[in-house]
């Protein structure tokens, strides 16, 4: 389904990043988020959800660990937990190509 979206040029990948407050791990995850968006060959939307402020959403999504980067548009949801600083690896995991490699 993502391929059909792609042809229309909308934000193709919608991810959610679950973090807890402003702990150092959360700040690292937010930095990584920026780099992922910049490195992606296609537009990516990564919504930030601070579970300390929005615990109900963590409950609904069944989040145990933070940071968690999650693609909830697919069934079953696809999740990456822990260290998301390896941009190339993250993009590959969510099936998105990297600017450098696609050039």
């Amino acid at each position: 389904m993502r391929t059909s979206d792609r042809t229309q040029g909308k934000p193709l990948l919608v991810l959610r990043l679950y973090i807890a407050g402003d702990a150092s791990a959360a700040r690292r995850a937010l930095d990584a988020r920026k780099r992922i968006i910049e490195a992606a060959a296609e537009p990516i939307n990564i919504e930030i959800i601070d579970i300390l402020e929005r615990p109900a959403e963590a409950e609904a999504a069944g989040i145990l660990a933070t940071p968690t980067l999650s693609d909830e548009t697919v069934t079953p949801p696809r999740r990456l937990i822990g260290d998301i600083s390896n941009t190339a690896h993250v993009l590959e995991y969510f099936g998105c190509s990297n600017k450098d490699t696609t050039a």
Binding site: A58, E59, L64, A65
Partner: protein, 497 residues
Amino acid sequence: MIATEESAVDPVLERVKTGIEAFDDLVMGGLPRGRTTIVGGTPGSGKTVFATQFLAHGITDLGESGVFVTFEESPDEIEVNMASFGWNIRRWREQNQLVFVDASPKDRDELVVGDFDLAGLLARILHAVKAAKAKRLVLDSLTQLFDHFVADPTTVRRELLRIAAALKKEGLTVLMTAERNSEYGEISRHRIEEFVADNVVILRNALDKERRRRTIEVLKMRGSRHVEGEVPITLVENHGLVAVPLSSLRLEQQSSTKRVTSGNAELDRMTSGGLFRDSVTLVSGATGTGKTLLVTNFLAGGVAAGERALLVGYEESRGQLFRNARGWGVDFEAMEADGQLKVISLYPEAQSLPDHLLTIRELVEEFKPDRLAIDSLSALERIAPETGFREFLISLTSFIKQREIAGLCTATNKSLIGGQSASEQHISTLTDSIILLRYIQEGDMMNRGLMVLKMRGSEHDKQIRRFTIDSKGMHLGEPFGGAPDVFGDAAIAGPAT
């Protein structure tokens, strides 16, 4: 069963009742408020039932709501599985008395890279605690959480410590379950108990001589006393876990001096006035020596004196018991019709020994008899491992005495002449009186003999008396002339000279 004391006893530890009455007695009134208890057990040992009961009791009886964090079954599964214990989880959920945090395994692609924390879980728990205004919290089971993050046990351990500390700060009384690999091995996988628990409780479901034996044991109570040793438990429909208390916890019953008739005037004379009101008498003898007859006399004698009598039979059907009685001139039907007698016939194999004990207790609570006969203990012994049987006897005899009931139990000897049955060995120290019925050979004649072997707190006739049985019942006659050996394998009296 002895109470141990740790150094720092906090006299003001408030107690949180679990709803498992006899268990609360073991831990001096309940789990200490604001503390963390680990309940360990093998699969099927009743951990989830224990945990749910802890929450249910708070909700239904004490107005304390709870949070259930489930790592194993989904909330809907728990709702269904626990319904048979009479817990309406659906309604509690609707009224926010019970809030679930659903951390059960879900279908998802997941990859863990590097370091993470469980802040997500903690945030969800605290959110649920706030929603329910919870006082009690259950995490079931931690082992599943470790399995979820199987590559990072160190991280899970660190995070659990953090969660436990946060929950303690909230003043919650926390019960965490943990899986064990074996009944008598290490306390839990991942050694969870070592780093988070103030208290450790073990549930067991061990196989002992082909029988399941469920027990509960309090292993550790930080800063508090508890009773040591395994206590039998059973799962009861519409109730949950029931611990079967052992008598040694409360041996305060005082002995009465009031006598009641044994139902046989001659036997009353031999015992200097009959049996004591709150005593347990064992009648032991080989098959056919007249044990059931003695039971029948005992019941009829009570009813004739205006008492209520209860017979729990494990060997013969009701029809058979009624026919026997009629053969000795006793009309059980009329007594039952008058509401003075109740005869219950049970199949020993139908339930476990602790369940049998509960059945007897329920019957007694319901019928409120003045005297109770159990025929026979040997039939019950068949179905139980030895330790279980001894515990059963201790509980039974102390219960009978507490209720100030006159109890009469029978035990069957395996050999026809002389010999001791195992139940006899067990019960002889627990009963107040022992009556032996024996076949005694004299020359080429086989006669029956009766002897009062023991009578606590009273004088009694120590002779071995001849007796006969006819359509009017038992007739005690003269003592045997010689000195027959009623204990040995060959109970042969010397030839009458």
